[in-house]
Symmetry: C2
Subunit: 338 residues, 2 copies
Amino acid sequence: MKRRVTLKHIAKELDVSVSTVSKALKNSEEISRETKEKIQAFAKLYNYRPNNIALSLKNKKTKNIGVIIPDIVHHFFTTVFRGIEHYAGERGYNVMICVSDESFEKEVLNMELLANGSIDGIIMSLSAETQERNDFNHLQEIMDQGIPMVLFDRVSDEVACDKVILNDIEIAFEAVETMINSGKRKIALVTTESYFNVSSDRAQGYEKALISNDLQLEKNLVLTLPYESEDEIPIWEFFESNEIDAVLCVNEIFAIKCMDVVQRQGKKVPEDISFIGFTNGILSRYSTPKLSTVAQHGERMGETAAKLLIDRIENDLEGNYKTEVISATLIHRDSTIN
Amino acid sequence: MKRRVTLKHIAKELDVSVSTVSKALKNSEEISRETKEKIQAFAKLYNYRPNNIALSLKNKKTKNIGVIIPDIVHHFFTTVFRGIEHYAGERGYNVMICVSDESFEKEVLNMELLANGSIDGIIMSLSAETQERNDFNHLQEIMDQGIPMVLFDRVSDEVACDKVILNDIEIAFEAVETMINSGKRKIALVTTESYFNVSSDRAQGYEKALISNDLQLEKNLVLTLPYESEDEIPIWEFFESNEIDAVLCVNEIFAIKCMDVVQRQGKKVPEDISFIGFTNGILSRYSTPKLSTVAQHGERMGETAAKLLIDRIENDLEGNYKTEVISATLIHRDSTIN
């Protein structure tokens, strides 16, 4: 039997990216005519069939679910996975995961790998690069083949499918308002690039809370950090050069790093400066002081996503997509004034 | 097309466990004759073929690797996975993971799922229950079908395959000796059940270090904790009722929990009591005080495992199994006296 030719083989053979191949095969305007002709000819020659096995999937259930997460060394995503696994197990489904490593290309490859006939549906959270590019063709393709999909946490309005999200705007609003009510006035936001839908929602909640309490939005009180970085200089300088008495951080690790820096600068937490983070991970429970944080209820999010997916698979539902909103909880520990 | 009957279907239909079905089909002595006949008849009726697709796999490479880890919410396993993924990616392989959730039955199901024709080889770490049962038939079966396997960290002498392990005995010896050299004499071990090969190796290193320094082994200085538990009472009582001036913990989370308890009991770390943990995770870097710990170099372990597996896949190697030993490093932070 001849080996099935994949997007990746074609990309490698012609020395172009996987997404170029994918777009060329769909005759996208973004790709030059010359490149398209070359790729299409090659695909024809080698009898490329887009996920051909998947096309026959609809009537042949595998009782397997595929999950794609952006990062495996990340408490939130692993707890969501746990929720998916527990719920799916109860309904007799096995689960396998692929990790996109925040890369668009890997996400495309993961989907191709999973959609090779061994799964009935996919649950995923978008990679950073996918959110940055705003390119969701690969998701649409999978759904066009009749494989249902549920997006969680990092989602996009441009993809029509079931979704599970957190009430990020509301809970960020509540977190900031709590700090204002305890007497804080100079409130900073430590966040990631705004192409993450969750970061932009949390920023929106932060801004709304300031405005509704007649506080001024100050651009220099927003610190944008790279998603993964060991460099603490920007943090050090941010807290040295600004007068800040409270901080909302869009994740747990930013909060822990910032608390560590300000305490070395001689400030007291929470008296001089309060902190609230997102992700109620183990770090929050054992930091000094223990971190007040937003519990995102990852397991519940995972269970909800798995329920949406399995219901759709088993009832062959089409359209009528739902977005379930998980209500986050603010947990007060020792990094805020009660 | 009729759906393929799996071990799980048979188990469910006949209301027995997956491992009973697996053993019955291999005519195991452990299963009663009556049960075996029933299961075998059922399997025949429904044309059960053990991983039938896998049998034809040998000449048809998929360029996919399957990974089975016991737990996804665990820093060490996720860093090993990262290492596997990075190395495999460089050699053009995709990786998918299944999680056994420390369950023997899930591990068997994971293997069946992965061996359905979509992977060229498996990298895994044994579940707690598999180590407790000491039952490795499912691993042997996969290898008998020509699917190569590499075990890492939680391994067994009873399985003949490539392995990657840590020098657990030596590094535990070194950790304890370091504390003895700093003047400590009443050294405790906080560990998990001894059916984990890694825990038993670390206990062996601990004992050796005491003996070689003419210190007495005291049974009451060894605390065995359940693998996952929020209950701190046993920890509280252990440190209240014993005179202890140093502690080796077999993982990071035990160390963090114990440090938290003893500090609430009014003891000073490291002056009154020193701590060394295993797993150089993010918790260790942000605990108070920062935890001295054994870096297991999970990424290197993962890369090594992936190299062993891919070399075996690509060169169709048989036999001549290797065990690669990764040398751990002791990292001194603030929970030990330097």
